[in-house]
């Protein structure tokens, strides 16, 4: 490989609409940053975005850094006050204002971004490698753009896959999303010479999918993601503003993340131990798909009489404060490509009870503890035992403090380069 080109167009598209990065954008940024740091003069690594002409155009890492720094917290969208007291009128007005704000962003998105004016395509060569590591399935032109670059300059293509959940669990996605994802993945698999995945489980999923499609076996290199993000600061965390002990679940509130299990577990814990003996449970994350019924359920019984606290609009600083103040964290997700919140919990030195599904045990290793995400009895038993054993909880936390060694993103970059060699 002569030179590696990393496609960061996804960051620019995303920043045109949203004001806060999601997991994929953070990973892409951290990986890019580590690659840029390993090659300060840019001789071996370059970055490209999507030009107006359908080409890949070069972009400086400094521009990407500035763009990412501007991704501050998104203003609350569709996060109308949920409390009954706020009233239906307040909800409707707030939702309408959020929609109007989004409408105002549409004309602005029609203006070309500064880099769009660059018309010179990146000077890719046949012995170069183009790394696709974003959410390409949201872009209907993604496969055609890569195919055109390949045809024009013979560049080789590497694909970093985060997960194939839309194909394995289509029930959690709009059918249009599933169809687009399949179309994108099939197209990219046909174009890619190298395949990378963010966990062993995802690599196995991808290999199995290739077999199902009748494609020849090809090695899928698992790449261990780095732990934590450069914009997180555990030391300077503020007061989380919650009285009493609490457990924390950081995640978008969506069906796949299995919040419903924890609601059930907390109901069981309160029935067994009494409300006084059970800590609060904080759900920190934006409202996502297919959880309207769950949230309605929470509203009906007042979040188990106040035991479940929703923090839809938590900023990065709020999240850091919540991590710092919690007794332990939970991550009951049904399906993941990796498990960022689990490693994030360990970065903050907090014990994590996590789902045993898919890649999550890879992320938590021996320092997290696991339950079957379909089994509320199992989860309830384990959490109950922990609540009744504060000494054991302290020992677990001490073990994390002593033994957890965060994987630097530099290692991830090295693993990517090794997988592409």
């Amino acid at each position: 490989m002569n030179r590696l080109w990393v496609d960061v167009g996804d960051l620019f598209n995303y920043a045109g609409v949203f004001r806060r990065p999601s997991g994929v954008q953070r990973v892409l940024f951290e990986l890019g940053q580590a690659l840029a740091a390993s090659d300060p003069d840019g001789a071996r690594t370059g970055f490209v975005r999507h030009g107006a002409s359908g080409d890949f155009v070069p972009v400086r890492w400094a521009d990407i850094t500035a763009l990412f720094a501007g991704l501050s917290d998104e203003a609350p969208a569709a996060e109308a006050p949920r409390a009954r007291k706020a009233g239906l009128l307040a909800q409707a007005v707030a939702a309408q204002l959020a929609a109007l704000r989004a409408l105002l962003a549409v004309p602005a998105s029609l203006l070309p971004a500064p880099s769009d004016r660059t018309t010179t395509a990146a000077p890719m060569r046949p012995d170069d490698m183009l790394l696709i590591a974003g959410t390409g399935w949201t872009d209907p032109h993604a496969v055609a753009r890569v195919a055109a670059a390949k045809a024009r300059c013979g560049v080789q293509v590497a694909l970093l896959v985060y997960d194939i959940v839309p194909l394995r669990r289509p029930e959690w996605f709009n059918p249009i999303t599933t169809a687009r994802f399949r179309e994108w993945l099939d197209g990219m698999l046909a174009l890619s010479e190298r395949l990378l995945a963010i966990s062993v489980a995802t690599a196995q999923d991808l290999a199995a999918y290739r077999r199902e499609c009748g494609l020849p076996d090809r090695v899928v290199h698992p790449v261990r993601l780095g732990d934590g993000f450069s914009d997180q600061e555990a030391e300077n965390a503020a007061d989380p503003g919650i009285d009493g002990p609490y457990a924390l679940f950081v995640s978008t509130i969506e069906i796949r993340k299995n919040h419903a299990l924890l609601v059930d577990v907390w109901r069981r814990l309160i029935a067994r131990l009494g409300a006084d003996q059970v800590p609060a449970l904080v759900f920190a994350g934006r409202e996502g798909g297919l959880t309207g019924d769950l949230l309605a359920k929470l509203r009906t019984h007042g979040g188990l009489d106040g035991k479940i606290i929703l923090r839809h609009t938590a900023s990065d600083a709020d999240i850091a404060a919540l991590y710092s103040g919690c007794a332990f964290t939970l991550f009951p997700s049904l399906y993941e490509g990796w498990g960022l919140p689990v490693t994030e919990s360990l970065v903050f030195g907090k014990p994590c009870f996590a789902s045993s599904a898919t890649s999550i045990p890879e992320a938590g290793g021996r320092l997290a503890r696991y339950f079957d995400p379909l089994d509320p009895d199992d989860a309830t038993r384990q959490i109950e035992r922990l609540l009744q054993d504060p000494v054991g909880l302290a020992a677990w936390q001490a073990e994390i403090t002593r033994d957890f060694r965060p994987v630097p993103w530099r290692h991830t970059a090295e693993a990517v380069l090794a997988g592409l060699a």
Partner: protein, 391 residues
């Protein structure tokens, strides 16, 4: 007894078990010499003739197919827009949809609050009459002020036991009902103890057990037309019906077993509150890749035939008439995993998909014997009802 019994069928789905129950009870009460007046509230009270009652309750209501899934993505014109513009438009549309839902909720709340005054009653029970409601719905409490005895046939108490499974409106209605009505506890003796306890704890007025129901269904049995071997999940579809847990169970079965070893899943029941998300999941998955079928508000005939032809039945809903789905299964000779331990049904924890998976796997490997149940007599039910109302 001289006073008139207004048999209120408001909220009952045509062709459902509850509809069969209403028809059988109406006939049995008449045979017992009671003065019965069928009625419904829309929300103004209307009296119904016998022919109207039968017509309303027996309309075909099966809905075997799902609405077509939206196939179209972005149109040709939209495809020419820059990607970030399309994302921005999509973001706006999603938020606008949420805003529209909020406005609709506001409008619905306003209209609901005004309806009772706007819709006149075309018929009214007199003081001393009984208003026997077969379903918790609407604003019947207003009749209590006129000396009418309000009686609710309480086929389940989920709204008391698990209010989170119901809408805030239903919870509020239940509170009015608890204070103003005399609940009659229906369906089966063995499965209603929990309901009696809950009603008593909640301070309900004189809960009464009314055992026996749904037996007329067994006589109606066409062949079901499902092409493959299947497991029937009876009872309501939604949060209370644990439908989400069944989807998780079937997904895990598909992971653990070869494709041809996993039977189809037929979900047959009324669609109740908090079901939008699970219905959307079913649509998104095209009904689990063709291995699940949804029959919303099935008629009694179809329920009977599905029960007769299934490998076994699962009754995961504690709110389905205190065992109506269980009773239907066992009456049709289907072994049944049930949240109720009654009549030989095997109890299970429907909220634990891991445990359900283990149970289903065990029954697939070693099919249980088919049960048989004694028949029940509707005249006895009517006599019990009249005796209790006379107290």
């Amino acid at each position: 007894m001289s006073r008139r019994i207004w048999l209120d069928i408001t909220g009952i789905h045509p062709g459902s078990d509850a509809a069969v129950f209403a028809l059988c009870l109406d006939a049995a009460l008449r045979r017992a010499g009671a003065d019965v007046q069928p009625c419904h509230r829309t929300p103004g009270m209307q009296a119904l003739g016998a022919a109207e009652l039968t017509q309303i309750l027996t309309l075909a209501a099966d809905e075997p197919a799902l609405p077509p899934v939206l196939q179209q993505g972005w149109g040709f014109g939209a495809r020419r827009l820059p990607e970030r513009t399309r994302v921005a438009i999509g973001h706006f549309l999603r938020l606008q949809k949420a805003a529209m839902a909020a406005w609709r909720g506001l409008a619905r709340a306003a209209i609901t609050a005004r309806h009772p005054e706007q819709m006149p009653d075309l018929a009214r029970p007199n003081a001393g009459d009984v208003l026997l409601m077969l379903c918790l719905s609407g604003d019947a409490a207003r009749f209590a002020a006129n000396g009418v005895l309000l009686v609710l046939l309480a086929t389940d108490t989920t709204v008391l036991a698990r209010p989170e499974w119901r809408t805030p409106e239903e919870v509020a209605q239940a509170e009015i009902w608890r204070r103003t009505t005399l609940p009659l506890v229906a369906i089966t003796a063995a499965t209603s103890d929990e309901g009696l306890t809950l009603l008593t704890q909640a301070g309900a007025k004189r809960p009464i057990l009314l055992a026996g129901a749904a037996d007329a269904i067994g006589a109606l049995s066409p062949q079901s037309t499902h092409p493959r071997r299947f497991v029937l999940a009876g009872g309501e579809i939604g949060e209370a019906g644990q439908t989400r847990q069944l989807l998780l169970t079937w997904r895990r079965l598909q992971e653990l077993l070869p494709a041809d070893a996993v039977p189809d899943l037929v979900l047959a029941g009324p669609v109740e509150a908090l079901s939008a998300d699970v219905l959307e999941q079913l649509r998104n998955s095209r009904l689990l890749g063709g291995r699940a079928r949804l029959v919303m508000h099935p008629g009694a005939e179809l329920v009977a035939s599905l029960n007769r032809d299934c490998l076994f039945a699962i009754a995961p809903s504690p709110s389905s008439g205190w065992g109506r789905a269980t009773w239907n299964a066992l009456a049709a000779g289907a072994p049944c995993l049930s949240v109720f331990a009654a009549y030989g049904a095997v109890p299970f924890d429907a909220g634990n998909a891991a445990a359900v998976t283990a149970r289903v796997r065990a029954w697939l490997a070693d099919p249980p014997a088919r049960p048989s149940l004694p028949r029940r007599d509707w005249d006895t039910v009517a006599e019990t009802l009249l005796r209790e109302l006379a107290r």
